[in-house]
Symmetry: C2
């Protein structure tokens, strides 16, 4: 009985690349070995200077190996070398950004979040001397995403933030890019060895069964996940059902609605600019972004009509492309067709297969249109759910009440966007309505593109996320820490972290 | 069909107090009404000045009504008026403490945790202007504890911290003190009305079935729980199984081990002082504290023998008392007997019934002793689990390795305590070993008594807590908030919170 082989696939054809598998699926013993090796690295990671050195060394190695990493990722995802070069640069920046946070962790505002109290026996109850600091949770399991082979995968934000916190990681590779995963993991492990940390600081496992095995492992202390609602919920349920439940920070899905007010379309050129921006955003990376704007509230009437037409026209100009894998392609085409088949839904641009000799699995993006009245019907709930891929739904509303009713039906979202002039007296009320269900609220612009920044929030109410954490930006580190208060411990004996 | 009556009981006899029930159990409609009324109060609570006014008004009313509150609580719990007067003072202080935090919420270090980024289009990825702030989660369900009729019940830390965050609450009263719960809820609701907030800001429900009903309610956004591992886990499972899971911050149980090194017993008088401190701590409030020291690692040998004897002698001096209810009494007596019945376990002071005419349900505290070698046997696992009530287990260790092995077997704990001189070269290693499984690590002293302070951590790895949150101290507010980033929102339109 040999181990199950893991092959790299060509997303244009769905066929195997190369003559040999790139890895083997991890059986339970292999998962156990990876978790134990990571756990053994925990004490070494307590050295904060070494952690930031690791993150910087990893950044340097990924940067140096950029050409082969991007080539592998493009062969496995067909996201294009321009996009992938940018994504790798983002990933390198992200590692250095977290290294800086590690260096500043003990400062005011740093993630060690040091709080102190002096003794005051006169209070009720009396107060002892207290020193509160954040300790690493333990081994973190990271589930790589299909759509970001670097930034949300092996060397991505979950890995970087966990290492920054002092937590070793075991990454479950995504089957859409096993070769890229192996290359990136090798770079991270070499960086660990370079700075004197155990190789086991970063583990990598392949294969579907390795996921549940990882989440159930007694030594696992937390999980980061980016992926589908179905997969994420299954892992969430496993994490909650453990004898000792562990936190799972999952990012599962998001509709990312955009509200366009009539006033936003009033200026000359506004209609064309909005249409171009929207189409650029929802077809970026073939719509395979968790922040893709999947529902756009457009006013009814002639200006809205003109905007809808401009969106349809711009969409028709977008060339066909391939999705990350055959399953995703099928889910997109089926999902788009199911929405298009609902009564009173109009396909302004029909998504569909667009096979070529080179890319038999290519598809064209699509746009649907529906009135808010119809979108609010119970029978049309599907329109308010995410359809991953290059498609969006224009929802034409008659008045503010209708727009508010649609927003009120939204599940938790990563983002929500308002297009209206800054002097719109209703703007604060709309922003509050968006903040009620979203983790990031944009005034103008488009939600695709997530900055790595101190004030970023990439999360939101369920199913956007399974916790209040963020998976992008400085606060991401906080997910992998737990506070401990030291009471009456002499300063010389307090841990230096 | 009338609603099920809720009676106040006398813990000395287990019999009903008074001629009439003090409340009725909430049926599903009553739970729904309470949650909806609380949800309707959410917008009004956005006014931060009103929130701190509410907390102060509640503190003033509880203080003013102290005599009747303490009388009711003593009749229902028999914790004694001295203890209950202190607990009420603590609760009043806690409300004012959170009011101060609300006033300072937007300052640096305040719980709104405001983070900002300026735009920098030159970064990879480009950075927009960002403003990140914490918004209230929504309606919070609070499960009151049996053992603190004020500080961890209707007007307790979960309620105060949730209101501070801007979250209305629905409290599930504990059946051990329904009359006290009604009085406290009336005071809180009157305070709400006094400051111009809806009465529904604070809801109260009674009855076992109201608990699951509350956790399953679609409008509930979070849960605070203090109680048993069994009850807490059941609610945790319900919260995780919801179509939209919600966070549950539960405090379920803790052994709170104490490590006494040989050096700690070397000074003249140290043995007696340690014994007196331990017995005072584990019998305080009849051992009905989540922070009760339930396991004490004492060195083998003659000094340890002397200490064990001093503990037994001091325990024999403790008068009998009643536990909070008949079920708790039974669980304690059964739990103590089961541990005492294990091979090689010695009862230095046997816990048992101590009925008197006035208090037929009274019990005496107890102390068990066992070698570390025996305690580490798989058959003796029970000794490493919490036994709620006035009992503790002395574990006699031969050397540091044995002590470390016992600590290594500990489940998550709220506290862990080290007794050793400050110049013990092993002290930092022991402190690290304790911090690996505890939320609060004490150097000397005793874990009972939890200060309301900025740097407090009252939580710990599961089952001490079901999250990384704290249920006591300033950070408790953070459990009821979620971050939202506002991107490119003009300053005038950013929410003022």
């Amino acid at each position: 009985m040999g181990a199950e082989s893991v092959w790299s696939l060509d997303p244009r054809t769905g066929e195997r690349r190369g003559d040999a598998p790139v890895a083997v699926a991890a059986d339970p013993a292999a998962v156990d070995a990876a978790v134990r090796a990571a756990h053994a690295a925990l004490p070494a990671l307590a050295d904060r200077a070494r952690r930031s050195a690791l993150l910087r060394a990893a950044a340097a190695r990924l940067h140096a190996g950029g050409e082969s990493l991007v080539a592998a990722a493009d062969a496995e995802t067909r996201l294009g070398t321009a996009r992938l070069t940018g994504e790798l640069a983002r990933t390198v920046y992200q590692l250095r950004y977290f290294a800086d946070l590690v260096d500043r962790a003990a400062d005011a505002g740093g993630f060690l979040d040091i709080r102190t109290d002096t003794a005051d026996p006169g209070l009720t109850p009396p107060r002892p001397e207290l020193y509160r600091v954040q300790l690493p949770l333990g081994v973190v399991g990271v589930f790589a995403a299909s759509n970001f082979p670097f930034a949300f995968s092996v060397p991505g934000g979950d890995t970087a933030s966990a290492l920054a916190a002092g937590c070793p990681v075991v990454v479950k590779a995504h089957p859409d890019h096993p070769e890229t995963s192996e290359l990136a993991a090798a770079a991270l492990r070499a960086a660990a060895v370079e700075v004197g940390l155990p190789e086991g600081t970063i583990g990598l496992v392949h294969g579907f069964a390795a996921g549940p095995e990882l989440v159930r492992h007694p030594l696992l202390a937390g999980v980061g996940f980016t992926g589908s609602p179905r997969g994420g919920r299954a892992l969430f349920d496993l994490a909650a059902a453990r004898p000792r439940p562990i936190p799972i920070h999952g990012e599962l899905g998001s509709v990312n609605p955009v509200l366009v007010t009539p006033a936003a379309l009033a200026e000359p050129g506004a209609v064309e600019q909005l249409a171009a921006g929207l189409v650029g955003s929802f077809t970026l990376g073939m719509g395979q972004f968790c922040t893709k704007p999947g529902l756009v509230l457009l006013p009814a009437g002639s200006v809205g009509d003109a905007c809808a037409k401009a969106v349809a026209d711009a969409t028709a100009q977008v060339p066909a492309g391939v999705l990350l894998d055959a399953r995703m392609r099928e889910a997109f085409l089926d999902g788009f067709a199911a929405r298009a088949a609902l009564t009173d839904v109009q396909a302004l641009a029909p998504a569909g297969p667009a096979a070529s000799a080179e890319a038999p699995l290519a598809v064209l993006p699509g746009v649907l249109s529906v009135t808010a009245e119809a979108a609010l019907r119970d029978s049309h709930e599907l329109l308010l759910e995410e359809c991953f891929g290059p498609g969006t739904v224009l929802v034409r509303y008659a008045d503010a009440d209708e727009a508010a009713a649609v927003l009120g039906r939204m599940d938790g979202c990563l983002t929500a966007t308002l297009h209206t002039p800054a002097d719109d007296p209703q703007a604060p009320a709309w922003l509050a309505a968006l903040a009620a269900f979203a983790g990031r609220v944009l005034f103008g612009g488009w939600p695709t593109g997530v900055a790595v920044a101190d004030a970023m929030q990439h999360g939101g109410p369920y199913p956007a996320a399974t916790s209040s954490g963020t998976s992008v930006g400085g606060a991401a580190v906080e997910r992998w820490l737990r506070p401990v208060a030291f009471q009456s411990v002499p300063q010389a004996l307090q841990p230096r972290l």
